[in-house]
Structures are given as structure tokens and as C-alpha cells.
Assembly symmetry: C2
Homo-oligomer: 344 residues x 2
């Protein structure tokens, strides 16, 4: 049999959890013109929150879809052979046939990656890694000695942004995270220079004061994962030639309507400041930069430390997804599919 | 004697006019270690509005300072000889000695430029020209067939942005301007595809409807000269990979406090949209691009048409400055200094 994680209902408001998902069994599929594959790990990522809304592209009563890593079981194509490891976007079904026409977006996981650490393929060497890499290197373009602020600093993307900026580019790196335990992790394990516990900031003004204390001359770059008061505090403290990379707005994801921010665009003119949104695809698929080689090297050298919060079993996806919005994770949220021998 | 235009009082609110300036006479200065120069034309530009506030850098009871073009009368430096024409930022004093240490920022006006059309040096080949050039070519980076919207389309910068985008880059160009006469000029003389009379739009929603009518698939680029409802309408209609160049916010210049805009940064992520502020210096001084050669060629070819509103006499600066904020000009506002033989 094959096991699928099904989205039970679309959800426009509030925090998603186990009650919005269920498992279903199907007959084990047969190899077609492409591959028969087994999933080892699947992702729970904040961006999925938009996609389960009724105006999103994930439909109720169908399997969830997202970024996965797994192994080829059987193959009918010359490029792939049984045992090969891959990363891809696929339905959350533990064993499935993939048509040959859909293999263009499969990424081969080699080098550092083996069955035991295959979650790298959905983490540092997958979507979050390429998001951190592209957003930092090509959108923010750091220079040695500049000051970076990154929100969601204990999360999958934010932690890697800060580690690359600090240990590769030689920036001064300030994080913000929710609560003292996360701030400790950010400082001690990831090696950030400072971390602001945003939960003790009751207002944008509080956050500006906290940021100004650790960045008295302001910030050169802000990597946005959170939105809301973080964005406005960053703009207030942004120096001339400052850059803001907009990656995510998690504070907004569970609200029925998007919340606007206030912006004073006239402040951006003589300072030549820039705000730029982006998504990871150009770097993940090799159209820009040198993501896989660079990131594998940095992981290997220990400059980027792999941090994961692991949930066991495809059926635990709902709990894993909920954790993202309740501060229940550090680093990448990995859902390990039952029956694999993955043992991080 | 030398004649100076003096700022009488700083002004934090309201429209500046003749009552805020006065003329004063000084003894004719003597040549020092640099140049003795005569001004032929001086600028009235919107950006000066910020600088005459009490927190600006223009002090009451001193001469106004801004972009000028003139001629060398006497010289003590090898690079300049009597009769040479120049563009520079100088105090508004018709005859003045310029120390050698201040000549680094002098630009030589040659090629197309002669005494009769020297206002090109404060227009198409000066600050407004380099602003239009840099903002369009390096900040917006147009591709053939893309749709550009530019506000202040009858003004010095906006008109040139649209003409370059249309006649050099092959874009579809939409302007916005105040009133039917300006819209007619924008369409008929400058050759824009469409022009929106923003004065008939009572709200952001009206402006969005007007813009959507002429750009039913949205806009790829917005060149911001105005701010307020223009910015929000542009963001609403901005397509994926859309870019906004923030050049000026004239709707805000006479208010005592800056007005914020609403922005939904989450809309910028998957669309990879960018908002970028800039000022003309990198292009005006040749650090980026190829401004002087390119623009002189486009003027010569008639792709960029020179449009000016001329005021006669240094003492008319106050009226010229007021015209900028009352819709009283088309193209570049030129103040012709009395006693020159400039005769555009």
C-alpha cells in the first residue's frame, strides 16, 4: 500500500494543526514511463500556509504537496537508477510513480548527502538553504563589516542567513527570535553577535529601541521573515544604501486579510535604499549563483550548522505545520516518513 | 556689482513664493586661485523644497544654492579658460569667484551646448536629465515591450523618462499629469501612448481604475515623482518582476510632516518586485552609465525633446519655485539670469 497525507479542508484563518489533515491508503502504484520513488522526508514550511487557503492552489481532499527528499526504487529513464537520492516537489505520498515528464525539476542529491542525512535535501541544500543563499548573496549583497539584521533567526532560513553573513561574509549579525531559549541558540550555536527577544517588545517603538541598542549606527541590511513591526523597525534603522530582502511575512499568514505596513518612501531617495522581494527558485534550480556547491562547502566546513526539529511519521505533519506558527521549532522542520531508515 | 538671490526665511509648511526671497547687491568679487564666473541660468527644482526647511541645509539670510550653468570670465587654473561653459552647484550670485578647491564638481559643457542653449546644462544634460537617465536605465532597467508608468509626466524629469522609455527602449509609456493641457502636451509633443489626468481622480481607487483602463494587464515599471495615491495605485497594478524607482514625492514637500504610504510587502515576494530609491549623482558625475554621451545623442536625434518654462531675471526665482508646486510649469523650470545674452 501507499500512504498519503490529505488536506481535509481549506483554511482561511487561524493556525493549522492535525485536525486539518488525515492519512489515506491507496494501492501501491506501479512504475510508469518515469520513476517509482519512496519519500524519506517531507517539509513543513511557512509558505504552505497561503496555499491551503480557499484561494490557494492546494485543494481539499487531495494530498498535500511540497518539498521532499527520497530515493528511486525503480526507473524507466536513463538518467536515474534505483538507489539514487533526489529532492523534488511532490505530493506527500510515501511511495509513488512519477511520470517522465515531471522529472525536469528533480534535483540529484549527491556529495555530502546520504540516506542518513537526506533531510539536508529539504534543508540546507534545498528550499530554505537556497532561500537564505539567494536572498543574502544576490538580493542583499553583503560587504565585509556591514550590519545585518535578520528576523526569524532561530528558524530554518533566518539561521542560515545569519550564519552565512557572519562566518562567510564577515558581517556583524543581529537576529531576532521569540524567547530567551531561541536567543541563546542563535548566539551560542549559530554565532550571531546579538539577538533581540522580540516577545518582550510590545510595540514598534520598543523594537526600535532594542535594535538601536545593539546597532547604534543603524543597519545596512534587513532580511525579512516576519513582517509587521519588524519591517517598520528595520526601515526606521536602515542606513544609507540600505537593502531589505523580503522573504516571508509569517506574522500575517494566519490572518484572513493581509495587514498593510506603513512606509515613508521619501526616506529612500537620498539614501538610495532598496526593498526587494524574492523567492528561491532561481538559485535552487541553478539559474543564478552557485548555490549547491557553495552551500555544501559551507556545511562541510561547519560555517553553516544544520539545525532541525524532527517529527516522526507522515501523520505528524499537522503537528509539525502547527509548530511553525507557535514558535515550536528551531531550524528546519523535518517530517520523517515512517518506514525509512533515515535516522538523523 | 554682483547680485545675489537670498533666502529670507526657512519655511516648514506651505508653498514657497517670491515673498520668501529677496535680492541683495555685493561688490563685484575678484578672481582668486580658481575662477571668476558668470551665471547664465539657475534651476528651480522640487528637491530644494526640503532644503529650505529649518532642518534643511539652506540657511536664511544667505544666497540660495542650486544647479546652475554659466561661463568662465577669468581663470587661474590650467583646466579652464575664459569663455568655457560649465554646469555646477553654486550659490545664486550672478558673478562670483570660485576657489580652485571647489572645481572638482564642475562639469564642462561642450558638444551640443553653446551660450544660446546653455540651459541644457541644467536640464537634459544636467540634474533632471541624469535623474531620468539613471532612474530609467539602471534602476528600472526597461525591456522592449514592457509597460512603464511615470507620474509628473509633463515635468522636467517625468517627460524625459517617458520619452527615453518610448523612443529609445521601445516601451509602452503611460504618463500622469494634472489637467487636459498637460496631458495633451505629454501625448502630442512627447509621444506617450497614454496620459492620465490625475486631477479627475478623487481617490486611489479612481486612479487604479484609470490606470487599469490603459494598462489592463498591469504595469512593469513605475517611476515615482509624486507619492501619495500614485504610489499605492502603482503597487496595486504592478506585475510580477515589477520595479518602482523612487525619485521624488512632490505631493509631500509642502507638508510639515511626511505622510506614510500603505504597503503590502507580502505581495512582493512571489512576484519578485523591487522598490528602489535613487538620486542622480552617480550618473551626473559619470560613476555609472554613459549619461552625457547617450543623452546628447538622444537630444540631437530628437528622441528627447527639450521642454522648458523660462522665468526672466534672478529675482523671478520665487515665482519660478512656486510654479513647481502649483502646476505652473511644463518641462524644466529655467531662471534666466539678467544681463546674459542667453536667448532660448
Amino acid at each position: 500500500m501507499a500512504n498519503a497525507l490529505i488536506l481535509r479542508t481549506n483554511l482561511n484563518e487561524g493556525i493549522p494543526g492535525p485536525e486539518h489533515f488525515e492519512m489515506r491508503q491507496f494501492p501501491r502504484p506501479q512504475l510508469g514511463d518515469g520513476l517509482l520513488v519512496q519519500l524519506f522526508v517531507v517539509s513543513a514550511d511557512p509558505y504552505m500556509r497561503y496555499r491551503i487557503r480557499s484561494d490557494g492552489d492546494f485543494k481539499a481532499n487531495t494530498p498535500m504537496l511540497g518539498l521532499v527528499a527520497g530515493k528511486v526504487l525503480e526507473s524507466n529513464v536513463p538518467d536515474w537508477k534505483p538507489g539514487d537520492l533526489f529532492g523534488a516537489e511532490l505530493p506527500y505520498v510515501d511511495i509513488q510513480a512519477v511520470p517522465a515528464a515531471k522529472l525536469a525539476m528533480f534535483r540529484r542529491l549527491t556529495g555530502l548527502v546520504n540516506e542518513d542525512n537526506i533531510s539536508l535535501g529539504i534543508g540546507a541544500l534545498g528550499m530554505p538553504g537556497s532561500t537564505a543563499y539567494g536572498g543574502l548573496t544576490d538580493i542583499l549583497r553583503p560587504k565585509r563589516g556591514e550590519v545585518l539584521w535578520v528576523s526569524g533567526a532561530a528558524g530554518a532560513v533566518g539561521s542560515m542567513v545569519g550564519m552565512i553573513a557572519k562566518h562567510v561574509f564577515g558581517c556583524t549579525v543581529i537576529g531576532s527570535a521569540g524567547g530567551p531559549d531561541k536567543c541563546k541558540l542563535v548566539m551560542e550555536r549559530f554565532g550571531f553577535d546579538h539577538c533581540i527577544d522580540y516577545k518582550v517588545c510590545k510595540s514598534t517603538r520598543d523594537l526600535i529601541i532594542a535594535l538601536s541598542k545593539v546597532a547604534p549606527s543603524g543597519i545596512d541590511m534587513y532580511f525579512e521573515n516576519v513582517g509587521g513591526m519588524h519591517f517598520e523597525a528595520a526601515m526606521k534603522c536602515l542606513r544609507p544604501n540600505g537593502r531589505v530582502a523580503v522573504c516571508g511575512v509569517i506574522s500575517d499568514y494566519n490572518n484572513p486579510k493581509m495587514s498593510p505596513n506603513k512606509i515613508y518612501i521619501s526616506n529612500m531617495i537620498y539614501t538610495a535604499q532598496r526593498i526587494e522581494g524574492f523567492h528561491c527558485f532561481p538559485w535552487l534550480f541553478g539559474q543564478r549563483g552557485n548555490f549547491l556547491q557553495d552551500m555544501a562547502k559551507w556545511v562541510d566546513e561547519g560555517k553553516v550548522k544544520v539545525e532541525e526539529t524532527v517529527f516522526d511519521g507522515l501523520e505528524s505533519f499537522g503537528s509539525a505545520f502547527r509548530a511553525l506558527f507557535e514558535g515550536g521549532n528551531t531550524g528546519k522542520v523535518v517530517v520523517r516518513v515512517t518506514g525509512t531508515k533515515s535516522k538523523l
